[in-house]
Amino acid sequence: MKDFLFNFKMPEHFFITGDPLIYGAYVSIILVSLAILFVLTYYKKWVWLWREWLTTVDHKKIGIMYLVAALLMLFRGGVDALLMRIQLTAPNMHFLDAEHYNQIFTTHGTIMILFMAMPFLIGLMNVAIPLQIGARDVAFPALNAVSFWMFAAGAMLFNISFVLGGSPDAGWTSYTPLAGSALDPGPGQNYYLLGLQIAGIGTLVTGINFLVTILKMRAPGMTLWRMPLFSWSTLITSVIIIFAFPVLTIALALLTLDRVFGFHFFTLAGGGSPMMWANLFWIWGHPEVYIVILPAFGLFSEIFSTFARKKLFGYNAMVYSMLAISALSFLVWVHHFFTMGSGPWINSILSISTMLIAIPTGVKVFNWLFTLYKGRVEFKTPMLWALGFIPIFLVGGITGVMLAVAPADYQYHNSYFLIAHFHYVLIGGTVYGCIAGLIYYWPKIVGWLLNEHLGKWAFWWFTIGFNLCFIPMYIVGLKGMTRRMYTYPAGLGWETWNLIATIGAFAMGIGFIILVWNMYYSFKHRQNDTTGDPWNGRTLEWMTSSPAAEYNFAVIPQVKGLDAFYLIKKERAAGVKEEAPEIKPIHMPKREAFPVIMSAFMFVAGFGFVFEWLQIGFLGLLGSVITMIWRSFNDYDRDYYIPVEEVKKTELAAGRRV
């Protein structure tokens, strides 16, 4: 027992040393932490931080925290990307060695998909969905906080790997046997398993939360078929999450058992099957790529319709095509390993099922285009990003169909052609959707608008840079360059293309900097949005003040059809008299401390298991279970009412009629 409690096996390198990059990271982590501590203490903000943010259950604040985290992760993943591009600028460079390069592409991929794209979209859902369906919050506000803090704990755990113990280095796909303990000992790969496990629980809970929210909390009159497309896409995404994430949870748990507890699920020795990992991973992984694209589709639909000043074309077809895509997304996973010898029958069938996805996707693209038809298209920045998405995603989609041709995929698989494909869909689709959505909802989040002029500069730098960066990758891929090479020999005709790609990557970096600078610049030169409806929006979120009051709607609106707010505005313009609704006391959830405490314990547990210090691991788990139990025995006095007087005061202050 004593042995168990006090035995800490140290990995070979606990503190990573020996590289200027790492020392830089240490110094900046320490300086930033000290600066934060200082500012919080100096301005006496600790209580504020605790009451307003750490324990909040308000979906709008949780959304903001998701978005801040996602932008930070976009920065981190972007720096990883630039480091890789520098290393590949010319043949035989020695900027990074193989070990570093391997860690960096692994953290880049994992962070971008799980800690950037997902939280970015979930953040936008949090900000917009309750407003869009006319609700006061999500169905389970406290659980929503659990989701966020679980994600934050997982992300934090994953990120400290860079300085403590070393980062994972088996790719974001983490294929066994390479990722097993025999070939990849040490804490690195454990960080991947535990970081994703903890964050994944948060995602699963989000899926459940938004499913229930959308099914149960819509404003009166908003039938399913009157829901805006972003709500539809969130609903469908939630269902995919609920089906797909348990597979990831199991896969990660099995591999953790292998690595930390010496099981043999994925090792040949002991009769396991290394190939089972690839199957489990992609049974989750392909739906996952649709988890990060469908919400973006939803955002684009809102934006096209708003800035073309028209109803979305083919609303029903848009919904049905998303349903079709979500069903098909579970039936195509084998296309990620056509070359693993599944046989001609399986390859043929999965090849065709993959191509089929292009049909509903194509339907959506044509419907978006026809939304512009006979409209009045305004090139505001959110619309620019949405329009940029069309040609880029088109290229990503048609190369996706090319990849789906199994015999041809034998030539593209694991080459830069594949890399180019999924960046065209992931950046052109997901990232453009996130940025478009962020700019679109920005005034609703903070109450003022982003500068249009700077916004256009950011868009063009990013878009031109993106194409310069990734078109060459299609070409070097066909010339035989495989992904994950840390360097390459001269003389194969790859040099020029790689050089162009690096230049493009830096142009994208400049675009990102302008985007972030714009946030600061626009804050300094604030134009407050006093109307709550800066874009002439069509859906309910634009009916509230900017930013929306804590309770969202003083009175829940009545929905009379699709584009509810557009209809209300039309009636108002036509002079239809609205009867003054009666304000009643508003029932709200109180803030909760348990989500952040429970997640802190999970972080400790994760950290313990990463280093295989089981006593700490189990202690952390115990802590979070006790927090949970404590919370369930204290399930009273969790809510309160905002009195009518206060609601009226808030509404008047925001310049609203009461």
Partner: protein, 315 residues
């Protein structure tokens, strides 16, 4: 207007770059054998079909943007209430369906075709490929010789590569001769390739396998039949023999130079762990059909393995 100059500038730089550097004719787009050719034709066909989609969407896109961009003259714009058009929607569902049918048929045909020898009337040669941390080992069971990090094949003869791995998975890829296939531990996979003429083609591992994965590049030399036989005879005469110890040594992680051996020890690589030690695998799986050479190897297992661990041939 600013936009137009911007586009022109991009277009010009792209055109300059395209003409300025080496042509696209290398790798996948430079097929040098029937397998690569089959895949190349399929790739071109898919590009043709996808171009239709590409052009249709881009034309519509530009049309919508030019025609319906907000102008100061249409301040009095009133929304149309039109929100769908059944015929249009049927049209843009039906056309992709046709395109996908046009793509699936050759896809399925090729998928089945590439399972078989590209030149069924020719007697094939078998070469066993093993990837190990971080090198390629080629055994010629019919000739009894072994090479490391390069492989010689006869031109115009179908080659049946039999793929295995010790340690992590890799993927065996020679773009100019044809697509890749994974090498997996404990599982044998097959890949047919053939070179039309004599020449040297670069191959590499396409699947990440750890530290020195990048250096897993090798040459495939295709030799005229006579030259090939001559080379075999030469190897048999002058190259060293490989002992079991030497083989185990070779499996140790690291990068090695090209090597040639006139014989190799009888070891079933499907039963080796990442360090080259035998593992007890009650059921190692096998893909595709079983094969005599494989069977022979299996019965000749000479290592201290658990006697009840039988290689299961019918997966």
């Amino acid at each position: 207007m600013r936009l137009k100059t911007k586009y022109a500038a991009i277009f010009l730089t792209m055109a300059l770059l395209l003409s300025g550097c080496s042509s696209l004719k290398s790798g996948v787009l430079n097929p040098q054998g029937p397998v690569a050719k089959e895949q190349y034709d399929l790739i071109i066909w898919s590009i043709v079909l996808m171009s239709i989609v590409f052009i249709a969407v881009i034309v519509l896109f530009v049309y919508m943007l030019v025609k319906y961009r907000a102008k100061s003259s249409d301040e009095d714009y009133v929304e149309t209430e039109e929100k769908e058009n059944k015929w249009l929607e049927i049209l843009w569902t039906a056309i992709p369906v046709v395109i996908i049918i046009a793509l699936s048929i050759p896809t399925v045909k090729s998928t089945f075709k590439l399972e078989k020898s590209p030149s069924p009337n020719q007697k094939p040669i078998t070469i066993q490929v093993t990837s190990a941390n971080w090198k390629w080992i080629f055994k010629y069971p019919e000739q009894g010789i072994e090479t490391v990090n390069y492989v010689n094949i006869p031109a115009n003869v179908p080659v049946r590569f039999q793929l295995n791995a010790v340690g992590p998975m890799n993927s065996f890829w020679v773009p100019e001769l044809g697509g890749q296939e994974y090498t997996m531990p404990g599982m044998t996979m097959y890949l047919w390739l053939e070179a039309d003429k004599a020449g040297t083609y670069i191959g590499r591992s396409a699947n990440f396998s750890g530290k020195d994965f990048t250096h897993m590049q090798f040459n495939v030399h295709s030799l005229e039949k006579g030259k090939f036989d001559e080379w075999i005879a030469n190897v048999k005469k002058s190259a060293p023999k490989q002992t079991t110890d030497m083989f185990k040594q070779l499996l140790q992680p690291g990068v090695v130079k090209e090597q040639t051996y006139s014989s190799y020890p009888n070891v079933d690589v499907n039963r080796l762990d990442e360090n080259g030690n035998p593992i007890i695998a009650p059921n190692s799986h096998q893909h595709g059909k079983s094969d005599d050479t494989e069977m022979k190897m299996d019965m000749n297992m000479n290592m201290d393995m658990n006697s009840n661990s039988h290689h299961n041939m019918n997966h």
